[in-house]
Symmetry: C2
Subunit: 662 residues, 2 copies
């Protein structure tokens, strides 16, 4: 499928950028191009600061009270309300006479290293679904004097004849309904069949052809957030997604605290019920959105880390936390979802993605499945940055894994205005190095109400690149004299990203030093884990052919920024892709192709897990990584050089024009 391509040229800088998405937002294009526009309402069209003048080209734009009729005539538009539909030339108002050129020198080429979430499943979409629980339409020959085998035998014969399915066994409830259903459907029926490891169970028969009324649910049980996706299990069509914070959050933000709660008397039951409560909420949302009926859901695939998996299944998690860190089980049987309290009929079967070890769970198996690193030769580094940071390194022949207790900073946890990637979350940030003013966009282009993972990466990278923070994450207090945005707040020093009046908040949206500390610890633990894993197999970052970053960062992640903060190693940006919620995606794939379920089980048994807590070098590596990007700057040579150049240039400019900073 060839992509649309339009070129947008920003004047007076002369920066050009290629746009591949259809009807892309002009503000995002500027942001990606490194062209500064003082957008301070997240692209919600309310601040009016993103005004640009379109000199030529095709576009669509919304009218706004912020633009007078006269300006409209002259070609002024709000960038955040303009969609690119052809090649454009756009003039950006320059607030500082020194901006021209300087910004370009600071930013580089304007090349786009922002990754949109990759749709891993794309290559499966061409194969019709063959789900674990599948509906088959059958036209049976009615019984007669010479052919009076049992109803069940007749059904089994037809399944074998038409679909080569044998070794079938009927569920008792199905057998109970069979005599009536066969005759009601006049011997034309649809059978719902669970393909087992061996043998097939007929779960249900319905009169007529109901194959298309078959839905499956992928459910990612995150420590912080529970996501669900509803798909049509016959066509594979993606119908709806929903997400809610895991109601277990009030019992601790990380898995350890949850385990501590769970092993108290009655604790496991409470945690189990809370997770199910949230699952029921997200399911309600997808059902409400689509009108799909609960009884039409044939199956559900759950993916979660080992603790989340055990908690929702009601399995005592104590020994996950105690050395030698033993999970109760890595493989689980297929069971009726309703047994857990999930609001589905008793016929809807649930399958939990296989786990690997106490801290590498079904979410990671699902992630590997989604990214298909288990099918390829290239040495791949997969990192899932959620509440924990789980890493898998390997290829189709071998895989090693580790888990770093990273903390949920990238998912919004432990960050003052942190939030998950949902409407109103700041997901992309740029800071003008000259006037230190931010420019940002929110998810859904709404007024900001918080900042998500990708926003945090951008923000910290920009703060550092503008010299607002040092390499150990502390604010350059001197600059508080240069910009009001640096200030000492209640919780220490902070940078004001968005004023209260431009946001949905009652107070200014800031990034605090504790937020930055938190993020540095998180990225350090992940980077250190990668380091240790690579060393354990005698390799280093240079050997890695592909990096996949997964997690709830938001829709866009900027690879350059991720390297700038040292979350990713310094590699060719083209090697990196962003997977988004690969756990949910893996569950979706497992929902649709039973062969992929078998692959997931193989992945689970193939991965060798390494316990970082007993690794002699992990702590060393972690401490070395508590720096932006790293204390071993030789591992980030390009970043080191750029940092030096930027500092020099900014120093010169600031010395020359101190008065230009407000």
């Amino acid at each position: 499928m060839p992509k649309t391509k339009h070129t947008v040229r920003f004047m007076p800088d002369g920066v050009s950028v290629d746009v591949f998405a259809e009807a892309e937002n002009l503000l995002r294009v500027a942001l990606v191009a490194g062209v500064h526009v003082n957008a301070s309402c997240g692209g919600s069209g309310t601040c009016g600061k993103c005004k640009v003048k379109i000199l030529e080209g095709e576009y669509e734009a919304d009218r706004s009270a912020k633009i007078s009729d006269e300006q409209w005539e002259e070609g002024y538009r709000l960038a955040c309300r303009t969609r690119v539909t052809g090649d454009l030339v756009v003039e950006v108002p320059i607030e500082s006479r020194h901006e021209k050129g300087v910004l370009a020198r600071l930013r580089g080429t304007g090349q786009d290293h922002v990754l949109a979430e990759k749709h891993w499943g794309a290559e499966y979409e061409t194969v019709p679904p063959e789900p674990l629980v599948r509906k088959y339409f059958l036209e049976l020959t009615p019984p007669s004097e010479g052919d009076n085998i049992s109803d069940m035998g007749r059904l089994a014969q037809a399944l074998k004849r038409d679909y080569r399915i044998d070794q079938v066994l009927g569920e008792m409830e199905m057998i109970r309904s069979l005599p009536k259903v066969l005759r009601e459907g006049e011997w034309k029926v649809t059978a719902t069949v669970l393909t087992g490891r061996c043998g097939n169970r007929i779960l249900r028969v319905e009169p007529g052809d109901t194959r298309k009324n078959a839905y499956a649910l992928a459910v990612d049980i995150g420590t912080t957030t529970i996501h669900a996706q509803l798909v049509n299990a016959f066509t594979g069509e993606k119908l709806a997604k929903a997400a809610e914070y895991n109601a277990q959050m009030s019992m601790g933000e990380d898995v350890i605290t949850r385990i501590v709660h769970a092993i108290k008397p009655g604790g496991l039951e409470i945690l189990q019920k809370r997770a199910v409560k949230t699952v029921n909420e997200v399911l309600k949302e997808v059902f409400d959105k689509t009108g799909v009926l609960r009884e039409e859901v044939t199956h559900l695939v759950l993916g979660g880390n080992t603790t989340m998996t055990q908690l929702i299944l009601g399995i005592y998690p104590r020994y996950i936390r105690e050395a030698p860190y033993v999970p109760a089980a890595n493989l689980f049987p297929v069971f009726p979802a309703s047994e857990l309290g999930i609001e589905l009929t008793p016929r809807t079967l649930a399958y939990a993605m296989p786990c690997v070890a106490s801290y590498v769970g079904g979410d990671i198996t699902a992630g590997v499945l989604a990214t298909q690193m288990h099918l390829h030769d290239e040495l791949t580094l997969f990192m899932d940055v959620g509440t924990n940071g789980e890493i898998v390194i390997g290829n189709k022949d071998w895989m090693v894994s580790a888990s770093a207790s990273a903390g949920p900073a990238f998912e919004g946890g432990g960050v003052k205005f942190g939030m998950r990637a949902s409407y109103g979350a700041i997901e992309q940030v740029r800071i003008n190095p000259l006037d230190l003013e931010p420019m940002f966009m929110t998810i859904g282009q709404q007024k900001p109400k918080g900042i998500c993972g990708s926003g945090m990466i951008d923000c910290i990278a920009e703060l550092q690149q503008c010299g607002l923070i040092s390499q150990n994450g502390k604010f350059n207090r001197e600059l508080s004299g240069v910009t009001w945005r640096i200030r000492e707040g209640e919780g220490g020093w902070e940078y004001v990203l968005c004023k209260a009046e431009d946001s949905q908040l009652e107070e200014d949206l800031t990034i605090t030093e504790p937020d930055i500390d938190n993020l540095i610890r998180t990225k350090a633990s992940i980077y250190a884990a990668c380091s240790v894993l690579l060393k354990s197999v005698g390799l280093h970052f240079g050997d890695v052919q592909k990096i996949i970053i997964a997690g709830g960062f938001g829709q866009y992640i900027d690879v350059e920024k991720a390297m700038t903060i040292g979350l990713l190693p310094e590699v060719e940006p083209s090697k990196v892709s962003y997977g988004g919620n690969t756990s949910l995606e893996g569950c979706r794939i497992a929902c649709l192709w039973s062969g992929k379920v078998a692959e997931a089980e193989q992945i689970g048994s193939m991965i060798t897990n390494i316990e970082l807590s007993v690794s002699r070098i992990y702590m060393e590596e972690y401490v070395a990584a508590l720096f932006l990007p790293h204390t071993r700057m030789e591992e980030f040579p390009l970043r080191a050089k750029k940092l030096e150049e930027t500092n020099k240039l900014l120093g010169e400019i600031r010395r020359a024009h101190p008065q230009e900073n407000p």
Copy 2:
């Protein structure tokens, strides 16, 4: 195992008989030998009429008020209270001077054709049980830093290592308990495993070695009676049996009436609950008798005809009854017994024996399994005479089956004083052809309260042989002048078998003409079914190498008598054996050896069923068999000859000595 053998010689007839059982009852010995003793209280020691004088030999006898000290000194004893422990010579008082010799001529040799119930399972008893659900004791290596696989993985490893069991999957409830149980048991645990068609499910783990606390239940769901047997699933030991009338009886005596009820609104549910109620009663009985705990029962195997199977499983049975007679299913999944309402823990799994067709059910599959006709070359004729008469003919290569709607006459149904084979049932009957006085024994040697199947066979054969009834089952009214025992009662002509005062009844225990009619119809339908089946495969009775008769007749069945009434074809008596409740026995075998479950499924799929209702010759055959023994007397040449001789001899005696008959 060599059998005991004692010889008992009865004087003055000089009839000798070999006794194989240990401490056999002397009255039974006389009865089998054809020596008449006027026992009229069923062997309960109350009538005193079985007085004999022991001339020499070893025996044990109980004292009785019916025998004076003087008589005791002289060697008089009650035969029914005497046990044979060595060779004996016994003098039987002669009431008629013509008796000597005449009786011997009428009876033949005194050779024993009475079959005790065969214990089919005997040859399995030497192989330790390998049940479907089996307990395995495991000593696990505790986890350590270098070996921290999941608890479930550890369990699976040990099962593979110690017992070569692989492809295991844990039940969710088991996984939930696993972390605690492993540590509580200090890594020594017992796992309960269900061996599936493929793959194995771990149902439960318990701390320590509990292998011996494993029990299984065989449950025969008869239309009339529900039987259960409790066995130790580890040792194979038979612990207890119990039986109760099926509480569905109040909703009709035969399967057709039950089906009619079941398809009314709410009917199925009522019938299902009634069967389960009875099952719970018989289970309570075996638990009370043995002290076994319900939670120690690992599994239960149900055998029943197709209707009974569908009813207890809650499956709509309508199409069993409507042409072309299609059952819902012949194979059923393993399911928790508690789902049906059976009072066992949800961990106790139930398995229903596979059915063959609408009127050849799991009881027959179980019967074939028990008798092992499916393993041998000999052409075997298996007939299960319960409420229906089900016939299987064949050998290890092929089998055909049919079902005759025989009616429950042999189980006590439709017979005025009919009852099932339990304490107080008359099970053996002889009638003195000279004085027409009966001699009979009851089960448990109690005062009679009814007559069971084997008693009915004996009684009708004897009535006919004494000329009391004609070959079409009508009383010889003339003889009412000769014996008071022939009389016209409320329901027509009858023979008084036992006076009220000698019984547990308020009225005389009689055999009526309608009883006899009923029995003739039953035996005719069975014989006709055998005939049709043999003809369908181009064979005749002469080709049959082995006959197995099964059903709830009682403990003893007399082959000669069964041929006399034409229930069995006229064959060499040594070809015939009596199986008793082969359905229960088959279920017991299936309880103990999972390989036998697989065999049962093969049996089920191997049998070709023939519908008698669409057979052109069945009705013809049936009508021809409505005679004692048969209208085609050429099929019973020995019987024909004997009948002729007997009639002649009796005629002579009666003409000569009319006065001797009371």
